[in-house]
Amino acid sequence: MTAEGSLKNDLMIYVGILVLAGVQIFLAYHSPGVLRMLAVAAVQAVLAVMYFMHLKDEKSTLRLALVPATIFVLVMMNMVWADSYRLIHMRPFPK
């Protein structure tokens, strides 16, 4: 891949991330929802991590060492929702 071709790819990813940001703003006014917003943000994050941070070009062992553990920790933080919903009704325990 030539240096010029790579810069063209970088510019396409840059425009793609900005377009997705515009999609988020559109969703905010027309169809707001946490999961929709997170899904768009996740696509932006994948583009940034793989192409801007060049994780796509690194050895797969580095990707395997970094990504699954991080996603696991972030997903496990969802345990807070039971208590958050409990607080809405001020119950002493989650339903």
Partner: protein, 212 residues
């Protein structure tokens, strides 16, 4: 003969170094450490955003008060920060190809864009503080809105300032020959991470609370 004994035997008679296994990640140790820092910081921001979601979900009167002027400001901030990521990417590409002047030029542009982002953010903070929003006060509803808003955006702003300082130090060091292209690349990873966090902060903190 075991592999360990063969190794000792080779060393004892002054042979060349024994064959080593391939490095598992094939990156310089500095770069690996930066990646490890990035994933730990991602978990920190994740915890902050989950805590924000926890409080927002449980609060009966969470304000939806970001008018279109605030959203336009946030869109401009996003454009500035994503553009700074692009300029840092170009700086890294120039550094790797040996174009030192080009690498430095785009590093300085990145730092300036980062400071523009910070200035826009502080301007927004100022207008919110003047409206009465504080760490424990909020004229529009739940008092914890202020604490969570300033906590999350403040932590991000600290990262932006830290990144600007770090890039300045690395840029000056690179100019003097103390640092090399690898160091520019390593700190570009940090800067891209700061941009990546903003991509989650904007929808969670701003866009879910627009004034309809």
């Amino acid at each position: 003969m075991s592999e360990a004994n063969m190794t000792l035997g080779h060393a004892a008679v002054g042979h060349s170094a024994p064959p080593m296994e391939a490095r598992p990640f094939a990156v310089p140790s500095k770069k690996l450490v930066m990646w490890l820092f990035i994933i730990s910081d991602a978990c920190t921001f994740g915890a902050m955003l989950y805590a924000y979601g926890y409080i927002r979900n449980a609060a009966p009167d969470w304000p939806h008060h970001f008018e279109s002027s605030s959203i336009i400001n946030v869109a401009l901030m996003t454009f500035v920060l994503v553009t700074s990521s692009l300029t840092m990417l170009i700086a890294t590409r120039n550094a790797k190809s040996g174009d030192k002047a080009g690498a430095l030029r785009f590093t300085w542009i990145t730092i300036v864009l980062g400071l523009v982002f910070a200035a826009l953010h502080l301007r927004e903070w100022s207008s919110m503080i003047n409206a009465g929003v504080g760490l424990t006060s909020n004229p529009w509803g739940a008092p914890l809105f202020g604490g969570t808003f300033f906590g999350i955006t403040g932590l991000h702003l600290v990262h932006v300032f830290s990144g600007a300082i770090a890039l300045t130090v690395v840029g000056l060091g690179y100019k003097r020959g103390r640092y090399n292209a690898d160091d520019i690349e390593i700190w570009s990873l940090y800067w891209h991470f700061v941009d990546l966090v903003w991509m989650f902060v904007v929808p969670m903190v701003y866009l879910l609370n627009v004034a309809q």
